[in-house]
Each structure stands twice: as structure tokens, then as C-alpha cells.
């Protein structure tokens, strides 16, 4: 067992990561050791990242122990970069976390300086100079490459930067020179935020935490009005709204609301939020109150102008869409569905239930039933099909004359079939099935109940093929 993380006191006592536990115990007998818990560490990083969301919605996790915040355009809200850095460090220290925070013009520069450097804030344009004294490890290369560079006598980033980059590119690959350029702030670094970057966001900070639900709702209402006004300027409507409630003690709760069409009516947005808050299984607990609330728009679409209310038909369609949104918000998008046709002859796949707001972009249309034909497909279908016991059947390919299902006997009066439906062998899920196809029968029993049965296999190759009930007709 080896040491992987140390407290400040342990470092001061001369311990370092990587030495074995037996060694460390020999040096300091009353050393306090805990087993490494990666899951708890990840959870802690997640919680800290959530709390940092109050600074900016663009937070990147730098596992296992770092966070990168894009504070472009945010620092003035906190009274400048120095104030922002100080406030954040203080807040985290109050939570019992020691952190090193660096502000720089490029994410890689800040990340490397926080881990290896001494600088707090890098002035704009000075990134290349700031990283010169950092050790090679700041590049984050593979261990063998780092050792190889060290063996060449190059100890610092500055030494590396002074030499022509082609040398390293041919020896260590293009990746290394990219890293170096990103570290120096010369090349743009890709951003991979842990949460989607909102199209638009509005925030409310409170001097005193608010806890009463009517205050929260009032704040949300103001935010919704502002957001909708901004959307109006942009000639857009929101599809996905997210409200983040930041509790004073660091806990964050997010509430998501989706609409089926672009929307910028604050009253409707607020009603959806109220519906959602109302239906939460675990209601939002304000604890000691929220000191910060943000409303973000995660998805927007163009919405030229609000429909005129003179057009009765459009208004009615909107009312139905609003109803679908409210129901989806309350019961979950997976419970408010409509049917989309599929281009397939497999009856189990012919209709897909999709959330109302989801546009499946399918070219398929519902087949029009033939004039005068009785229904050939059931109104309700079992998934999986229900096994039945056959009492009496016309072999080899006739319909059953008597069968039992759910411990009840059914005498068949009318029957039609077989209708052979072959499996779709090109689908992975069907590829393994050995059946050559299913022979479907429409059956009516003496009482008038109508069923859709099928036989898997046939009587010529199988002495007793299995029968299933797949659906019921009206």
C-alpha cells in the first residue's frame, strides 16, 4: 500500500506521495491513514463543481482533483478577478477545503500553474512568461516521455520553449508541441464543460438567503420575464428551461422544464415550473435559504413573432401543445406520448411511442385500411406475447379450435389465417431467433371475443410448436 494523498501537516513532516505505508509508519508512528475512496472523491469534486456553478455556468471537471471555470465576462460581477478568486477560495475554505486558485488567459496555463506554480493571477498576454519556470511535468505527458525529456537535461517548460518545436515533434509526436502551445496560451484549448452551455442565462443574487416559496416564485417570475424579453429581442423562443437553486450551504438543485414548441410567454413558463415543483417526489428543501438563483435556456429555436390571437385554429393548437407540456412536466416526458409509424412489416415495431415533444423525422405514414375490410390488426398488443395452451388444432397449418389462456378455455367460432410474418433477420435482436417466421391467425371465440394468435414454428418439423396470444381486437 502506498500513500496517494497527503495533508499539509504530513507534507511538512516530510512525507511524499508514492512512498509505502510501512515506510511512512516507520517515520511517523501515529500517522492517521484512510483508505483511498475514489467514488467519494468524485462525489466531492462534483459537489464543489455544482457550487462553483454560481460563478459561471461553464465549469469543467479536471479529474481527480481540479476544476476549470470559464469566467470570461463574469469577474466584474464579483468586483474584479482578485476579488473573485479571493471570494471563491474563502468560500471553499469555510467548507474545509484547501485549494489553489489561479486565473489565467488560457485554461491549460491556469491548470498547470495551479498544480505546479506560485502565481495567483496571470496578467493578459503574459501566459508564456508565467509558465517558463514550471517543471516538465506540467505538460501532463506520459511518464516515459517525461523521463526522456528530463534525461535530455531539460528541466523546465522555458527550456523546452527555447528550442525549435520540430525537434520535439519528431521525437515525441505532434501532441507534445500542441500541449506546449496550449500551455503558453498560443493555441485555443477545447472546452468540455460538465453541463451543457446555456444559450442565455439570467441570475439573481440575494444579500440574504430566501427560503419562503412565494419569494422563490417571485424571483423566478422576474427571471422568466427578463428571459422572455431577451428572447423577444433575439426573435427566439425557448425549448428547454433550467432553474438552478443554489443553497447557502453549497447544495444545488436543478429543475428542468421542456416545451413542445418554442416559447417566450413568461406566464406559461412559470406555470410549467410551478407544475414541476409541485410534482417533485422530493420537494426542494430550502434549508437555510437560497442565496442565488439562475434561469438558463439550454435550447432555443427561432420564433418570429407571437401568433396573432385572431387565428382561432393556431390558438387552439397552441392550447393543446400547452396541455401536453403541462402533462409532460408533471408526469415526465416518458409518460406523455404520441405514436410514430415505422417502415417495417414486423407488427411489434410498426408503431413507436415517442414523447410528445419529440419529432422522430420519419418518412413512414400510417397505412390506410382497405375499404370494407374488418380490422386486421389488434387494438391492444402484449409485449412479450403471452403463451397459450392449445387443446384442439387443425394440423398442419389450420387455426386452433380450442385453447386456454390465463386458466380460461376459449372455443373458437371463427378464424382466419395463417398470415405469415417473417422475422427481420437484418436486425441484431432477430438474428439469433431460430424461427422461420410466425403464422398469425385472427380468432373469434363463441362469446365474440377476438384475439390475434401466432404459432412459432410449424407442425411438419416440430411435434408441438408453441402458440402465443399477441393481441386482442375490439
Amino acid at each position: 500500500m502506498r500513500l496517494v494523498a497527503l495533508s499539509r501537516q504530513a507534507k511538512r513532516a516530510g512525507l511524499a506521495t508514492g512512498i509505502s505505508l510501512a515506510d511512512a509508519r516507520a517515520r511517523i508512528p501515529d500517522l492517521w491513514v484512510e483508505e483511498m475512496d475514489h467514488i467519494a472523491d468524485a462525489a466531492l469534486l462534483d459537489a464543489v463543481a455544482d457550487d462553483c456553478d454560481r460563478v459561471t455556468p461553464i465549469v469543467m471537471a479536471d479529474a481527480p482533483d481540479g476544476l476549470t471555470l470559464d469566467i470570461t465576462g463574469c469577474d466584474h460581477l464579483f468586483g474584479g478577478e482578485a476579488q473573485l478568486r479571493l471570494g471563491l477560495s474563502r468560500r471553499l475554505r469555510r467548507a474545509g477545503l484547501h485549494t489553489r486558485t489561479v486565473i489565467a488567459g488560457a485554461p491549460d496555463t491556469a491548470r498547470a500553474l495551479a498544480r505546479f506554480g506560485q502565481v495567483a493571477i496571470v496578467p493578459p498576454g503574459a501566459e508564456a512568461a508565467a509558465v517558463r519556470t514550471l517543471p516538465i511535468a506540467a505538460l501532463g505527458l506520459a511518464e516515459k516521455d517525461r523521463v526522456a525529456i528530463s534525461r535530455a537535461g531539460l528541466k523546465t517548460i522555458g527550456a523546452l520553449a527555447d528550442r525549435p518545436s520540430q525537434l520535439f515533434a519528431s521525437r515525441f509526436g505532434e501532441e507534445m508541441t500542441h500541449r506546449l502551445r496550449r500551455l503558453q496560451g498560443h493555441a485555443p484549448a477545447p472546452l468540455t464543460p460538465r453541463r451543457p452551455i446555456p444559450m442565455l442565462w439570467l441570475e439573481r443574487r440575494f444579500a440574504e438567503p430566501i427560503g419562503r416559496s412565494e419569494h422563490v416564485e417571485a424571483a423566478l417570475s422576474e427571471l422568466a420575464q427578463e428571459a422572455c424579453a431577451r428572447l423577444g429581442e433575439r426573435r427566439e423562443g425557448g425549448r428547454l428551461f433550467e432553474a438552478c437553486f443554489f443553497r447557502a450551504d453549497g447544495a444545488v438543485r436543478r429543475i428542468l422544464v421542456e416545451t413542445g414548441r418554442p416559447m417566450r410567454d413568461p406566464a406559461i413558463v412559470l406555470r410549467l415550473f410551478r407544475e414541476r415543483l409541485d410534482s417533485l417526489a422530493d420537494p426542494i428543501d430550502p434549508g437555510f435559504g437560497f442565496d442565488f438563483i439562475r434561469l438558463s435556456l439550454l435550447a432555443t429555436e427561432t420564433l418570429a413573432s407571437l401568433q396573432s390571437s385572431l387565428d382561432g385554429r393556431a390558438a387552439e393548437e397552441d392550447q393543446v401543445a400547452d396541455l401536453a407540456d403541462r402533462l409532460s412536466t408533471r408526469f415526465g416526458a416518458g409518460r406523455v406520448l404520441r405514436f410514430a409509424p415505422e417502415n417495417t412489416h414486423d407488427p411489434a415495431r410498426a408503431a413507436r411511442a415517442v414523447p410528445v415533444s419529440f419529432n422522430p423525422m420519419t418518412s413512414a405514414v400510417w397505412p390506410a385500411p382497405a375499404q370494407g375490410e374488418p380490422p386486421l390488426r389488434p387494438t391492444q398488443i402484449f409485449d412479450p406475447p403471452q403463451p397459450i395452451h392449445i387443446r384442439l388444432v387443425e394440423v398442419p397449418d389450420g387455426p386452433p379450435r380450442r385453447f386456454s389462456w390465463r386458466k380460461k378455455e376459449f372455443d373458437v367460432r371463427r378464424a382466419e389465417g395463417p398470415e405469415r410474418i417473417a422475422p427481420e433477420w437484418w436486425r441484431a435482436s432477430d438474428a439469433g431467433s431460430h424461427t422461420i417466421g410466425r403464422d398469425y391467425y385472427r380468432i373469434e371465440d363463441v362469446e365474440g371475443r377476438r384475439f390475434w394468435l401466432f404459432r412459432a414454428g410449424d407442425y411438419t418439423t416440430d411435434a408441438s410448436p408453441v402458440w402465443y396470444l399477441h393481441g386482442v381486437f375490439a
Binding site: R338, P341, W366, P375, T379, V472
Partner: protein, 266 residues
Amino acid sequence: MRLERGSSPVADARFSIGSSAIDAVLGGGLVRGALHEVFAEGMAHEPAAAAFAIVLALRASGAKPIVWVRQDFVGLEMGEIYAPGLAELGLSPDRLIMVRARDGPSVLRAGEEAARCPPLGAVLIEPWGNPKTLDLVATRRLALAAARSNLPVLMVRAGGTPTPSAAASRWSVRSAPSCQLSGRQMEADAPGHPCFIADLLRDRAGAAGRGWTVEWNRDRLAFTDIHSTGISGNSAALPGDLVPIAAGGQDHPADANRSGKHRRAG
């Protein structure tokens, strides 16, 4: 809104079921802005009851959207809704919004929310069994919402027993043996068009106690009358006594007054 659409409230008051025999007894059809209950004669006839409710919704709704709120357990027990089958009853699946509700209270809640949306054509509510929350008050709320929106709310009560309710009509439906198909190429004894035996157990206007055998014709979106009876022994199979609506109406004087002249129903 109603005036804009150019139809008078009187014409809107009832919708024709599409069977001349039943419509004649009902006095032109069922009340549009009201709650109607459709029971199945035993769980095995749930598909018939659900289809009968859909067919009523089709008659009432023109081309407007239909919301169908269904408790999960019904789907597990009797099969999930199959859109191509609905198309073969005449309901284009594009018009349907399905709500899957976890339990009885959610069914009622979603149903009431939908019943408050006048642009819909009809609302179908399908709880399982007898939910505790489905009492006289709950049905009255639904009936009231239906009346305000002038929207038929059809409650399919498969696996349930009749309890006091504010429904304007109550049906018991079962599948009936289908009729011989004529002029068809395939086998002579193929199952035909959907046939129902529909017993009118209760009607606010007093037409209860009659039963009909009808066949649904998808192409005409109407019924063909097969047979008509006084209420048969079939309904005796239904457990539970019917309680007149007025029984629970005393503490709602306004409601009682409104329906006062129909008190003989029950």
C-alpha cells in the same frame, strides 16, 4: 369561442352515437359536455369497452385531438395500445396523445387537466379497478370540467364495479359474435367487423335499461344496428348495486338543483 365557431350551444349539446336505434332512445345522442362511464362485462371484455369508448370519442370529436389517460396496470394486464389497430377502427394515431399514469390519483389528475382544455375533441380516462380516489366528488369534478369545456369525458372502467358517480350515462359493453362478411375473397368464417353488445345501465335523461347489439363500420364512422333488446340477463352479471346520483347530492344544493329534473335516473 363557441360563437366564433358558428355553432349554437343547442346543436353542441348532444353528439350522435351513429346508431339510429340508440340515438332515437337517447334523444339525439349523448350529452357532449359530460362524463360517460363505460364498464366492461368482466376483464376479458376490456378491449371491447375501450374500443367502444374510442368509437364514441371518434363520433364526438370530428378531427380534433384526443387524449387517452391510461393507468400502467391496464396495459400490463390487457395489452398496450397498438396504434395500427386504432387506425383500423378509424382513429388516425396522429390525433392521439397518450398519457401513461402510474396510479389512480394520477389518472384522475391528468384526466381532469385534459378535460379543462376545450380545443380537444374528447378525453378518455382508463383507471384500473376501483381507485380509492374515484368517488362521487372526483367524478363530479370531472363532469364539471367536461361541462365547462363542452368536451365528452369517457371513463373506461374495466375491472371496476359501478360506484356512485356524477356520470351522465353509464354503459356496460362486451364483445359480440361478429357477422358474416359479404363479398370478401378470403375464408368464409373469418372474424368480421367489431361487434358490441352495449347495455345502457343508466342515463340522466331516463333512457336506461336498454341493450343493443351494434356493429362498427369504420368506413362510415357509424354503427350498423344488429339487434335491440330490453336490458338482458347480461347486466345481472355486473356486481354491485347502482346508486342514484341524487343520493350524494344533498350537500351540494347548486348541483342538486341543476340536475333536479333528472332525478329519476338511477
